[in-house]
Symmetry: C2
């Protein structure tokens, strides 16, 4: 089982991506944690360490994937 | 079983995303077709109809998700 992190900020683009991606990932392979960076600003630094530049973003096995564009991380600080 | 389409153009960003996403999607829910738009230029119009603007992109149930940025569709024509 691998860890996956889905970073978002509650924006419409984020929520649409969250709904589709969370149900699309293989539940036998991934345990997914959803992190709302608007509410958990203390985790923005963690997202940045993974290379996340904008939300929504999915981190799979440490690799960041930016999915469409909702908001820049800098705008959440 | 739903259809998913992964559009790419052979670029490094595309291949990295393809490897991670193709193995991350739930095989019980999605049958995924990979389309190389550099080699199948006749399918660029199809990608555009789904709202795809750049590759790599994943279309799930008709909805386009742009994953990171490899190349603009316009540059593949």
């Amino acid at each position: 089982m691998s860890e996956a992190l889905f970073f978002h900020a509650g924006c419409p683009v984020c929520l649409s991506a969250e709904q589709q991606f969370m149900q699309a990932l293989d539940p036998a392979r991934y345990s997914v944690e959803v992190v709302h960076l608007g509410e958990q600003k203390d985790r923005i630094a963690e997202a940045e360490r993974y290379g996340v530049k904008s939300v929504p973003a999915l981190v799979i096995e440490g690799q960041p994937f930016h999915i469409n564009f909702g908001a820049a991380l800098a705008d959440l600080k």
